[in-house]
């Protein structure tokens, strides 16, 4: 029904007469937004919740959408903001948890891995390292690398979405990968 319409036309339709048109926007972008949230947050359940909240926030603010920006840019900005909010909540919760039970989490983490097969443990450890390194990147660098890897967007698409020059996207991606490499080298490998 709505497949022939552009994102911008769908938004206009959803605002004016048919709210269901927003469902087509969700269908088009749900995988990419989910991937963006996963790359930004590193956990499936957090990514799912953040993406859900992002779509709801977008729907509630449809009337505020400015036609001069692309819908994809608008959605990505909402999703990134939602991820940052989730990160802040996680940090606050983690601080509370560490205040209450200092050191207990580390012991549980090491014990659970020590019972895994060696190869599996090594892979899990490597994934954990990457996840931490990506998570520690500045937001502007992280969102570029996540868009590239998890949303599989081209440089041009990232440029359009973030409304940045193509050269800036490339240099940000280059910087992101360099910092990622340095952070992974600096991070000590945990004993399994």
């Amino acid at each position: 029904m709505f497949t022939n319409l552009t994102d911008e036309q769908l938004v206009e339709l959803a605002v004016s007469e048919s709210p269901d048109a927003f469902g087509e926007i969700v269908r088009r972008w749900e995988r990419k937004i989910f991937g963006l949230c996963f790359g930004m947050l590193g956990r499936e359940d957090d990514a799912r919740d953040a993406a859900q909240e992002a779509f709801i926030a977008a729907y509630r603010n449809l009337s505020k959408f400015r036609g001069d920006a692309k819908v994809s840019s608008w959605l990505h900005r909402i999703a990134v903001n939602q991820c940052l909010t989730t990160k802040r909540r996680q940090r606050s919760r983690a601080e509370d948890f560490l205040d209450e039970e200092s050191g207990e989490e580390d012991r549980v983490f090491v014990a659970s891995l020590s019972y895994s097969p060696a190869s599996r443990a090594e892979k899990t450890e490597r994934m954990s390292l990457v996840r931490q390194a990506v998570g520690s990147l500045p937001t502007d660098l992280r969102e570029v690398i996540v868009m590239k890897e998890f949303e599989e967007m081209t440089f041009q698409e990232i440029s359009d979405t973030l409304e940045l020059p193509l050269s800036t996207v490339k240099s940000r991606l280059y910087t992101a990968l360099k910092q990622l490499k340095m952070r992974m080298e600096r991070t000590p490998v945990e004993v399994v």
């Binding site: 927003f22 996963f38 859900q52 390292l129 990506v134 690398i145 998890f150 440089f155 990622l180």
Partner: protein
Amino acid sequence: MLQNKNNLDCGFTDEIVSYIYDELTSQERGNFESHLTSCTGCTDEFAAISNARFSVFEWQKEEFSNLSTPEFVIPYKSSGETSGKAASGFWAGLRDLWAVSNWPLTAAAGIVVMIGLGFMAMTVLDRGGDEIAANITVETPEIAVTQAGEPLMRNAVEIQPETQVPESRTDFRAESSPGTSLSNEPQSTKTISVRKQKPNRQFTAGTQPPQNESSARQQTAKAPVLNTYDELDDRSLRLADLFDDEIGAKR
């Protein structure tokens, strides 16, 4: 011949990421590969960046690519109402309910609450007034003893005029046994109890104390004879009355 061993000012840095992500044209790709064979700086940089990129790629393949896309539920609104499938959770549902712009219903509920509060306030004020009035009448209570022997508090308005006091006092003195009715007695509770506890009064000369209850009742049927009633006899309120026996003995 290798060149640019320690720095990357050869102008191919942008091509490194483009090459890694396969976003070069065939001609650009050929040029960059030719450059790599002769530039160890770009080669080292390419290896490092490629390794970092592979880590992210591996993480994405390992932990994300197998995930199915979750079903996102949007709380669609149509003409000011939310649909039934709107909630993404309890709190989201609660927020949706709160977000409904149904101001006439909210206003009506507010009015009902205000009326209820006003009614409660009036009730409390009325009770407060009654309590104040009760406190005032407590100061001048009128107590009657019913046939069952229970004291009754009466309103101060019902206090009889002063002229009836002697009659009531006479009645009281005559009917001093417990269980008999005492009425129109504007005295305090303490006074009554003293009288009840000391039914044998002192009478002045010329008057005869009641020999028993039956004779006392006969006297109550008559009007009191004021000239036979000596105010001095009314010692029940005085401390000396408590020591009647002692005084009589001295006499």
